[in-house]
Amino acid sequence: MSDTHAETVAYVRETMLPQAAPPVSEVGAVKWLRENLFSGVLNTILTLVGIAVVIWLAQAALPWFLHGVWKANSLPECRQIIAERWGEGAHGACWAVIRERWNQFLFGFYPSELYWRPVLALVLLFVALAPILFSQLPRKLIRGSALYPAVAYILLWGGSLWVPLMAMAGFVVGWAGAALGRRTGLPLVAPLAAVLLPILWWLFAAGPVADQLDRLFPLWVREVRSDAFGGFVLSITIGVAAISLSLPLGIVLALGRRSDMLLVKALSVGFIEFIRGVPLITLLFTASLLLNYFLPPGTNFDIILRVIIMVTLFAAAYIAEVIRGGLAALPRGQYEAADSLGLDYWKSMRLIVLPQALKISIPGIVSTFIGLFKDTTLVIFVGLLDPLKGITDAVRASIEWKGIYWEPFMFVGAIFFIFNFGMSRYSMYLEGKLKRDHR
């Protein structure tokens, strides 16, 4: 055989060839480049455009960042240093303004020796939220979280300890009223007591009692007034207060919107659509210009409180829609199961539907919070010192920092980005986890 072959074929290989390396274009960086960047004409063009954009951005911004000055007392001094170091006509960032005024961007005019208080309040917020955010922790911790509002109030505003304590006592009053009402065995007494007693307590008793207690056992923490609030302390206070206050209201509105009762549904829909149809700015103007018209003559609130009230109403409409989505996403069987157990409406909501619906709503609530947190910058238009424009303008009003724009914007933008990006990643992680749970 081999002879025949030898005649017909010029050359026959008789040994195995060693394995050759794959072609250069199919391995390593080159392969990656070919597949990811230059796989076709369109893709190549896109890649080139992309590289051009990156180069252009780097060219425009990099020198400016590299020439940054951290130590100077004023903008002219900054410019002088840059000119000395990098030659006439060089551009550079003047980060000195951040170094000098960072505390105003974060805390506004909050007394500097008390900076630990808002910081502690923020840390405690995460501690209080931990049992809700991370399901690994024991559920019972939530009861401890209920104390957080009073603690946060004391830390942020200070003043007499009795005021928030008495406000919290309203819940104890309601709970005690309900327990006593149940003991009477009469219908309706327990729920009515649970609702009416706390309201009466807050309206009439809480103030005087707190006053009296204060007179007898004065417990004071140094008071900080709302006017001192500014920067991110203000943003976070408004955002967190509004979103947490809007939750109960949002739940009620969402239930109302899904109710069979025509009137309740109409009112809920009307409220939600009205709030969602107008810009937040008009609601803030309502807070600053109109709220005093709508309240009894002579009542006068702090502007921050008025803003929190209006932002709460605003957030409630959006939260209601998120929770409505959660309610709708719940399998129909859950409702039917609750009904078949003979639970009445409130019990089935409280024990079966809402716990599940709220859980799947958390990512939506987090997104709403991100949106709301960004929107807190609008409070500048009613004269509050938000970090973005209010504090920046205040810094720019001083003679040393007149004419500085990009650095404060970048600093504030970066902080917003870190907060919001973190929260949105968390919400995505949660979404993934919840999806698995429901499969």
């Binding site: 796989s39 896109l46 025509l262 107008v278 933008g413 990006f421």
Partner: protein, 417 residues
């Protein structure tokens, strides 16, 4: 004899209002209604008493008084002798203008970036992701302020265009000037204009109407031509060549009309302090437009990406198996299915743009809030009336937008049989 009685006819007891499901919802609704009415009455009563204390009344009469202030961008005729109502109309139109421009631009950009985000190209994928994350997570107010600062700080003042050796020059064949006050663009004019029709509220240019009529006619005619070509194709298998007919139908009538009207453009020229002759598009409008567009684009891109991702990959493979090219696959198979996922959140983005346009206050753009809720409110001191009216108008705009978009949504919805 068995007497079949119905349910025992218990006499009506008061507690049935609460425990009998037949009556309970009625009871609750009555209670809610009473509470609601009491709440409204309380608010109205407070308002009336407060107004009394301040010695004010509640009346919209001020809308018909002379406004007395000037506005820098007016889409309809307005002078400081016009009424406050007229100023409100000017502001409303400015709001609608910037909202419309932003919606259009953000939709186009969002579509492009959303599609690009799905691209296998590594650089493009990263760049678009960075874009979306950066713009989504930072307040829109910052983007508007940054855009405004870029326009005022980076662009040259009109002065720089003056003199023998100007430091700045116009672009696009000397027809457009980018300054730190406005962008001056050429003004289209008609030397044989047909005049205007006065609609009472505003003037409508007959020239514009004529152009719209002609373009609509051309498009309809073109459609007829294409439909006929398809019929011929179906009957004979050969599609007649139509491109020159389409071109002629689309272009010629418009050209003829423009020549007949004596169409020409007037270039902006630097006279005195400013460019005149052209149209000056103010930087406040440009900054607001740019800021709103860039911000909302990030959201729309995400919506588009999610919409396309929601169409199962099998659809693409099936389309490829049928021999459709990628472009056709996208246009005929993927997008129609993705649209029903995309449209509802897109509606809320349009609403957001409209509402966010009220941030015009940050750049001094005279929108509805700037006129009615700004200067008018200040000059007349009618904050209650002005803010309520402003809210109602925004609400009406929102309802109209969501109404129109819902109609569209119904038309793209998957027809379920």
């Amino acid at each position: 004899m068995a007497t079949a009685t119905g349910a025992p006819k218990a006499s009506f007891r008061l507690s049935m209002l609460l425990y009998d499901t037949r009556y309970r919802s009625m009871t609750i609704q009555v209670v809610v209604l009473l509470l609601f009415m009491a709440g409204v009455a309380w608010l109205v009563d407070n308002t009336i008493r407060n107004l009394e204390t301040l010695g004010k009344d509640f009346s919209y009469g001020f809308l018909w008084n002379r406004a007395g202030y000037d506005i820098n961008q007016t889409l309809v005729q307005y002078s400081n002798d016009s009424t406050h109502a007229r100023a409100m109309l000017v502001g409303l139109l400015n709001t609608l203008l910037v909202a419309f421009m932003s919606c259009a631009a953000a939709t186009v950009l969002g579509l492009i970036i959303g599609v690009l985000r799905l691209s296998p190209n590594w650089i493009i994928g990263r760049l678009t992701t960075v874009y979306v994350e950066v713009f989504r997570n930072i307040p829109v107010l910052l983007w508007i302020l940054v855009a405004y600062a870029i326009f005022t700080e980076v662009m040259p003042p009109p002065n720089a265009f003056r003199g023998d050796t100007p430091t700045a020059s116009m672009i696009l064949f000397d027809s457009v000037a980018l300054t730190n006050r406005y962008t001056a663009v050429p003004d289209p004019l008609f030397s044989r204009s047909l005049g205007n029709i006065d609609l009472g509220l505003f003037l409508v240019s007959v020239d514009l109407l004529a152009i719209i009529v002609v373009i609509t006619g051309s498009i309809l005619a073109n459609r007829a031509i294409l439909a006929r070509a398809t019929r011929v194709q179906n009957a004979t298998g050969i599609r007649p060549v139509t491109w020159w007919k389409s071109l002629a139908v689309l272009v010629l009538p418009l050209l003829l009309l423009l020549v007949a009207l004596g169409f020409h453009v007037e270039r902006p020229q630097l006279r005195g302090f400013n460019f005149t002759g052209g149209i000056n598009v103010s930087n406040s409008l440009m900054a607001l437009w740019l800021g709103l567009t860039l911000y909302t684009t990030a959201f729309i891109a995400e919506i588009v990406r999610a919409g396309i991702a929601s169409v199962s990959h099998g659809q693409t493979e099936a389309a490829f198996a049928l021999g459709l090219r990628p472009g056709h696959t996208m246009r005929l198979v993927i997008l129609p299915q993705a649209l029903r996922v995309i449209v509802p959140p897109l509606i809320s983005q349009y609403l957001n743009i409209t509402k966010n346009s009220s941030l015009a206050i940050a750049v001094g753009y005279m929108d509805l809030r700037g006129t009615l809720g700004g200067i008018t409110l200040n000059q007349t001191g009618r904050e209650l009336e002005a803010v309520l009216l402003m809210m109602l108008i925004y609400l009406a705009i929102s309802l109209v937008i969501s109404g129109v978009m819902n109609l569209y949504n119904n038309s793209v919805k998957l027809k379920e049989r």
